[in-house]
Amino acid sequence: MILEISKLEKKFGGLVAVHEVDLSVAEGSIHAIIGPNGAGKTTFFNNITSIIPADSGTISWRGERIEHLSPPAISAKGIARTFQNIRLFAYMSVLDNVLTGTHNLYKSFVWGAITRNGRYRREEREGRELAMGLLAKVGLADKRDEYARNLPYGEQRKLEIVRALASGPKLLLLDEPAAGMNNAETAELVSFIRTLKAEGMTVLLIEHDMKLVMSLADRITVLDYGVKIAEGSALEIQNDDRVIEAYLGKRRA
């Protein structure tokens, strides 16, 4: 289990957003988190990456406790994410967005930037190659100098994923990556995620698109009102009474 979360808890004043949630993600697997709106899924992601630290509970990443680390530190450990409402750097070029994703990989700082010494030039070159390679994979290479905000929605989502991949993570957290996508785009996304898995990536994703979840996920966890109500394979989840109730309400007698 590459990621082990135990009894994670997060309250906002009187509202319990995440309540004693346990989660274990197997290395190289695709693990989905589903649940009705407001179930605490994005908060859960925010807790993992420490953007909003959890109140209590433990998070172990490859055997190391990370719940007290800052977001940049967690990113450096190999966890990258995308956001539910796309958070690209709008007035930055597509290429620069991805290059920012590589921030942790390199070290050149003020002196290097000013003098453009050997290390700086080498790192810029490597970074650009890496970024262009990733952009080519998703067909965005020719838009490298466009402002990110000028891209159509579907391409913005792709860019966000590519930016996350730029840091060379071992775990990718995707928050509703298929939101707003049509069937063709969703199919493209599914095959892209499968390719990532084949390359050894572990993926934890939040999604509402059930077809995508059921076809991709090795394991599914269901949250409702911040509590884990079910966990298992796609088939098990589909037939779980509690899950059905959470989404559709109680069966009439």
Partner: protein, 333 residues
């Protein structure tokens, strides 16, 4: 327009170089040359303030104070200890940077509104300290007789000498800023301006880079102060108060936040206005205030700025009453 620039980069650059180098000849008189020299100093000051405002999105009203700290530091070292300009100037810059780092560490976690007031209060505190420490700063009397720099026994005395010296300084500083902007450091800064949460998630230490921007900005402002002090040979605290901070801020706001060329344009325009329109002289302050109001309302990012900081949250048009369709109804009403 930027594309046009890029295409004609070489001839424009060459023309500019000829213009700048030949200015003393072209200008013909000392007075204009001194204006051009001050313009160059303000180009650097505005560019350095842009590091904070345009690159990281934090507004500071204390830049005049840092300019003053650099000026006073160099002046005091030169007049009390007799140290040469080539020593006092970098030391002044470093001292100002240290003060800036200290203030930055303390205040850069504040939200924007409070940072503005914090830097404003800081500026006032600096002014009060200068005024009330006569043994160090001669209090309200200011410091006269700040000596001119000496290179290899040759003393810089004429306006032409000063013009070239400060021109070199300005070109160097703009060059450095431009290199920083187009680098890993610059990307981190712009990422912070665009979206702190995303930047943080990508591995950028937001607070650390904000402090870096602030410190470098103060370093450059301090250097400007040192140059200024030796250029005009007399300084006093009231030259570096809120009015000065406001002027530099307006230069950045008018010319454009977040771009390299923006502050340059802003500095040149605001320095040129009182010269081009002499009759407006007593009206100058009113005009500057009106300019700032107008720019922010109409084009908040400035003439040549990057929209990043001021992008409207939603896609709705800013001025609905400007967008009536043919039927005469307001769009989106």
């Amino acid at each position: 327009m930027a594309a046009w620039f890029r295409k004609f980069r070489v001839p424009v650059g060459l023309g500019l170089a000829v213009l700048l180098l030949g200015l003393p000849r072209l200008a013909g008189n000392e007075y204009l040359l001194r204006i051009a020299t001050m313009m160059a100093i303000y180009v650097v000051l505005a560019s350095s303030l842009n590091l904070i405002i345009g690159f990281t999105g934090m507004y500071s009203l204390g830049h005049g104070a840092f300019y003053g700290i650099g000026a006073y530091a160099s002046a005091i070292l030169a007049t009390s200890l007799g140290w040469p300009f080539w020593l006092t100037m970098p030391l002044a810059g470093i001292f100002t940077a240290l003060v800036g780092a200290f203030l930055g560490l303390a205040t850069l976690r504040l939200r924007q509104t409070f940072l503005v007031f914090g830097t404003l209060a800081f500026g006032e505190i600096v002014r009060i300290i200068i005024m009330n420490w006569p043994s160090l700063t001669r209090g309200p009397m200011g410091i006269p007789g700040i000596p001119s720099p000496v290179i290899f026994g040759f003393e810089l005395s004429s306006s032409t000498h000063w013009y070239y010296l400060i021109l070199v300084f300005a070109v160097l500083m703009v060059f450095v800023i431009q290199r920083l902007y187009h680098s890993r450091v610059g990307r981190a800064w712009v990422a912070i301006r665009e979206d702190e949460v995303a930047a943080s998630s990508m591995g950028v230490s937001v607070f650390g880079y904000k402090v870096l921007a602030f410190t470098l900005s103060c370093l450059i402002a301090g250097l400007c102060g040192a140059f200024y002090a030796h250029f005009v040979s007399f300084i006093s605290a009231d030259q570096f108060g809120m009015g000065e901070s406001f002027l530099i801020l307006t230069m950045v706001a008018l010319g454009g936040t977040g771009s390299i060329i923006g502050p340059i344009i802003g500095a040149i325009i605001l320095m040129a206005i009182p010269e081009a329109f002499r009759f407006l002289d007593e009206f100058r302050g009113v005009l500057y205030g009106a300019i700032l109001i107008f720019v922010i309302v109409v084009k908040p990012e400035g003439l040549a700025g990057v929209k990043g900081l001021f992008a409207p949250a939603s896609g709705a048009p800013r001025f609905p009453w400007l967008h009536r369709d043919k039927a005469g109804k307001e769009a989106g009403a």
